[in-house]
């Protein structure tokens, strides 16, 4: 089945009307991932936009069609480790145990819990939708926020302009954890995304699987709602968000991206980058080039 066939045929597991903003990348990721996972799935969605948008629901009004729990911001991987262990023990190993968490829950507040579950090889699929900030609480900085970005805790001031650090690159960090499967994906590259969710689900039957997904956010980032896929596509093309996977230790670049666009091209028209200086852009470009070089090396190129 082609990925389009998969997406056309599989049932939507999410309420038809949830309050994510127009054009929200997170909503797209959530719906598609759960379509693929299907009904025999238990999902955890920690505090963040997806939980906040009504998906975990309200008392007596639930936003999903499959069992869901909103764990703490900092314990998703641990909570679902325990749950997964119980499903192993019950002999129900076919049930998908999935976490869908924002970058804040993943890279920051819940990072230790995540790292430890990865290390223990817990059998679950952890998907991070990375919108580079704490959107649900009003777009504060996260560790994955790109350098120079305007956020509500790194505002463009007269003295300091935006975030001062480079982003923390969680997928490569997790790939260094001896996990079964680790990959990046972007909604702009939907065939790749679908394949990786499928691989991730399969890998989660043998150990820890991690998928880091670029999640454009029109509201926080400041671009028109119809541009999300294009922004994601540019991120991939600029190597801001390279696509790769690691399957039981073997790295593979999904796209060698022989003619990358520049960071200057990538950031154009995105509000959060509007105060980037030339030095900022150069610094991001250098980081991105260096990182891509590292990925190529890891993939044996």
């Amino acid at each position: 089945m082609s990925y389009i066939d998969v997406l056309r045929e599989a049932k939507d597991q999410v309420t038809p009307g949830m309050s994510a903003c127009q054009g929200c990348g997170g909503e797209l990721i959530l719906r598609k991932a759960l379509q693929i996972a299907g009904e025999n799935t238990i999902i955890g969605i920690p505090p963040g936009c997806m939980a906040g948008a009504g998906v975990v629901g309200w008392n007596y009004a639930n936003g999903l069609k499959i069992p869901v729990h909103i764990p703490l911001l900092d314990n998703s991987a641990a909570f679902f480790s325990g749950l997964s262990q119980m499903y192993q023990r019950k002999g129900r190993k076919d049930t998908n145990i999935v976490v869908l968490a924002g970058d804040g829950a993943t890279a920051d507040c819940g990072f230790q819990s995540l790292s430890a579950a990865a290390e223990r090889g817990e059998k679950l699929l952890y998907i991070c939708y990375d919108n580079e900030g704490y959107m649900n609480t009003g777009y504060q900085r996260s560790s994955t926020t790109t350098k120079g970005s305007r956020t509500s805790t790194t505002p463009i001031g007269s003295v300091v302009k935006g975030k001062t650090q480079q982003q923390k690159y969680v997928p490569l960090i997790i790939a260094m954890h001896n996990v079964e499967f680790c990959a990046t994906a972007s909604p702009s590259n939907m065939a790749d995304f679908v394949a990786k969710v499928q691989k991730g689900l399969a890998a989660s039957k043998n150990g820890f699987a991690y998928l880091h997904v670029f999640s454009p956010c029109p509201t926080g980032w400041g671009y028109a709602p119809d541009q999300g896929i294009e922004v994601a596509r540019r991120a991939v093309k600029a190597n801001m968000f390279p696509l790769w996977e690691m399957d039981r230790g073997e790295f593979k670049l999904n796209d060698e991206n022989r003619k990358p666009i520049t960071i200057a091209e990538f950031v154009k028209g995105i509000g959060k980058f509007k105060a980037l200086s030339d030095e900022d852009i150069a610094a991001i470009q250098a980081m991105v080039d260096h990182r891509f070089e590292m990925l190529k090396r890891l993939a044996g190129k």
């Binding site: 389009i4 997406l7 054009g23 929200c24 008392n59 069992p67 709602p225 999300g228 896929i229």
Partner: protein, 88 residues
């Protein structure tokens, strides 16, 4: 005692927001331009585009938020974003 901390699943009691009311622009598909590639379905964040078994794609308006992603992503420019009129 009533069971606590639990919300049943299913269409009954489901949390559903009338997101159609957010729409200012309305995606309108020009079937004549459409090549049935399914990109609009793949990229619609809301799941508002459905495909039939014979791969015809249709926009449903019950929850479409009017974001315009489908229009932007259609390789044939077969979808137009038109101001919401009275019709629904």
């Amino acid at each position: 005692m009533e069971r606590q901390h639990v919300t049943p699943i299913g269409n009954d009691g489901m949390y559903v927001l009338d997101t159609a009311s957010w729409r200012i622009l309305r995606p309108v598909m020009d079937k004549s331009k459409c090549v049935e590639c399914g990109m609009c379905l793949a990229y619609c964040p809301v799941g508002a585009i459905i495909g039939s078994a014979d791969k015809k794609y249709t926009i449903t308006y019950d929850y479409c938020k009017g974001c315009g992603v489908c229009a932007a992503e259609c390789p044939r420019k077969a979808i137009d974003m038109k101001p919401e009129g009275g019709e629904k």
